[in-house]
Symmetry: C2
Subunit: 436 residues, 2 copies
């Protein structure tokens, strides 16, 4: 039996100006679910939004409080960032990815969202002939929304059928057009939690170098592939990163997920040392400077977009990075709770007729983490998302991420203990009603 009548859901869709659930954004799905909850007093199971589901890191909170006691909001931040954070970021990336970025090239931004926005803006300007971004889908839909907002064009392809050596052909087909400024993906992947493996990163790097494209690697879920123990600073195994294979790259990470500090809006853009100093005539022309990528990013893009990020929060982030590098906290272990939630959720879904859509990397099954993807028989994402709304389960359509597969993104972050039996009951009802 359905939890909410179909006409009630449709009525609230109309009021929220949502004409089609199939293309509704995360925020729209959340807003709609909250309105229906308010009207009916029956809570949804919220599997749509990736808000941290754990308390903010205490070391960060304490460092930020100390910084406020010193009155740090009284001065503008430097657009280049707090030197202590730049140093800490450089060490942190070395400790967990085993790659080198000079502190100069490590720049604080308003989360990976802010970093991605500013980076896409600038990458689309480095060469008039290369003005497109190539997304390896499934992608974080917000990045394509950034492109739409900035008027930046893109190409994309779904990696589903192109894992391992096949990736070369798919990538080269797009790069051969000669109009790609940058190749963007997230690793671990939002929404599918697949991870590009080292062999695949080598291919990406090789083709980026061949076609002179910059790789934009989003590591918002830094070291959160729990299949291997990536938690020991300066000790193998390290999380895979494109920075091992090309010097034409930018790696982003943030405090939002690994330190549950999303409300602080703080992340890092790490520009490879080579790219940092590389001079682009098109940038020199537009900005009247040397055209060097890194200084242009800092002095123009960061300066003109937000004038830097909160001083106090930069101190918080520096303290959390330092504590991780020094082994005082283990952010990987702290985050494993999401993996446990994913394991339980996957069982409930698969016990009730669902299957995992992006189930494997090149050979191995994907890990349990922040997200996973589900399908049901051959229902389209659009049909499935609407059906699950009626049964009180709010998700996001996989099609929004450029995926060609039918299914939904499931986010584990908001699950509470009392939610599991309710979800089980609802999915069971859905599955039974389908098979009546």
């Amino acid at each position: 039996m359905k939890v909410y009548p179909e006409d009630l859901v449709r009525k609230h869709m109309g009021e929220a100006h949502i004409s089609d659930l199939a293309s509704a954004s995360i925020g729209q799905m959340l807003g709609l679910a909250q309105k229906i909850e308010k009207a009916t007093d029956i809570p949804f199971i919220h599997l749509e939004q990736g808000d941290p589901g754990l308390p903010a890191n205490v070391i960060g909170l304490n460092a930020e409080i100390e910084a406020l006691k010193r009155g740090v909001p009284g001065k503008y931040p430097s657009s280049a960032g707090l030197p202590e954070l730049k140093e800490a970021g450089s060490r942190f990336i070395k400790a967990f990815l085993n790659v080198d970025f000079k502190p100069e090239s490590v720049i604080p931004v308003s989360g990976t969202v802010g970093g991605s926005f500013m980076t896409i803006l600038l990458l689309a300007q480095i060469d008039a002939k290369k003005n497109k971004i190539l997304f390896i889908d499934p992608c974080f839909p917000l990045q394509q929304a950034q492109c739409r907002m900035l008027g930046v064009q893109w190409r994309e392809f779904d990696i589903f059928s192109f894992r391992g050596p096949k990736l070369r052909q798919a990538l080269e087909q797009e790069l051969a057009h000669g109009d790609i400024a940058a190749i963007a993906y997230s690793n671990p992947n939002n929404p599918a939690w697949i991870c590009l493996e080292d062999s695949e990163l080598k291919i990406v790097a090789e083709l980026a170098d061949k076609y002179d494209a910059i790789v934009l690697e989003d590591q918002a879920y830094f070291c959160m592939d729990f299949r291997r123990d990536l938690s020991h600073p300066f000790k193998a195994p390290f999380a895979p990163s494109i920075a091992n294979y090309t010097s034409n790259c930018i790696v982003m990470t943030s405090a939002s997920k690994i330190f549950s500090y999303a409300g602080g809006r703080i992340g890092l853009v790490c520009i490879s040392d080579k790219l940092y100093g590389r001079k682009y005539p098109a940038l020199a022309q537009r900005y009247g400077n040397s055209g060097a990528y890194g200084p242009t990013f800092i002095d123009y893009v960061v300066e003109n977009n937000t004038c830097g990020t909160s001083n106090a929060t930069q101190w918080a982030y520096a303290a959390m990075l330092d504590a991780s590098v020094e082994g005082k906290i283990n952010f990987v272990t702290d985050m494993k709770e999401y993996g446990r939630r994913a394991e339980r959720l996957k069982k409930i879904f698969t016990d009730n007729g669902f299957h995992i859509v992006y189930s494997h990397d090149v050979k191995d099954p994907i890990g349990d983490g922040f997200f996973f993807t589900v399908g049901y028989e051959d229902l389209s994402g659009a049909e499935l998302i609407a059906q699950l709304m009626y049964y009180g389960v709010s998700c996001v359509n996989l099609a929004n991420s450029g995926s060609q597969e039918k299914g939904l993104r499931i986010c584990t972050s908001n699950m509470k203990e009392e939610d599991y039996p309710i979800l089980e009951e609802r999915l069971k009802a859905f599955n039974e009603d389908r098979n009546k």
Copy 2:
């Protein structure tokens, strides 16, 4: 006698990739001065950067500390902003400008820099035929840098010769082209500290309505025209604002200057209620939504640019706004120190052969505040800025703000007690050397 040899200054200009001081940005002037200080151990008098010169507001600091103790960084901010801050902002604007903006239409941003960036981006998209910004110069150069970065075109004119009723002719000449989406200015003015008077705002409003342009009013220096006592909430006199005269407007303010909270990167964009709900087909087409200005700004522009602003800082700002409205703090009186500094600085400059460039509003002399402008005989801004560098005084060229007048911007914010006699000595030396 000069403080630094000319060749030393030129050497450091070369190293800092500054080919011409005439067009150097605030940040470049500051960076150059700091490098010369480091090399010589002789400090500059810093009149270039508008960093707050007073400690951060304690009510804000305490509220932010309390918010951190509650763990607020653990959740993403809402792109629309914290309800408490939206309410506080709406009340604050009513209390000191005597104009009404619904809390819904009051949106937290990363300072007026962030607010201006996002607003210019969106205003340039509302109508393909109206894609230019009209700046009433002198303007805050960073806003034109934002346009350059976004590829947004602009028109501009210097108001110097067009005060009072003459403003109509100057404005109409530009608006008549039919391609202006928005008219932008700051009040009080950065860099010249002139203030558009009510009679002038009426003209701006009337023409904005006639040509269907949106007025973007930057009130970063909110109520800091100290000529009248604007410090009493809900009591006349109120600071002048365009919002009294047109419903086609956006008013921005921030915590950076009035609460010395620049390091928190927090401000407000207040969208008139009419504009908030106004539907633009071009926005609907680009974003696939209703095309309403306010919701598009929140759900797309804020969401995709930074994903909102720091939760903890929003609590700080709300507390400072509330305390101001309740009369618990008097931010206007707190800021009068800048007026005292301006008075002393103006005397030192005018005693040594300088004159105030933008000296009057329609009839009255300008007030003493955060900035003023100086010229020396008929020296160009380019010559004067270079000369003063040699004498150990760092300023910004007025020409960068679109001004057609010869002169420099002087910022009072960094002056310390011990700086006045040194400045006096240096300007005296400069003036005497010129008259040898």
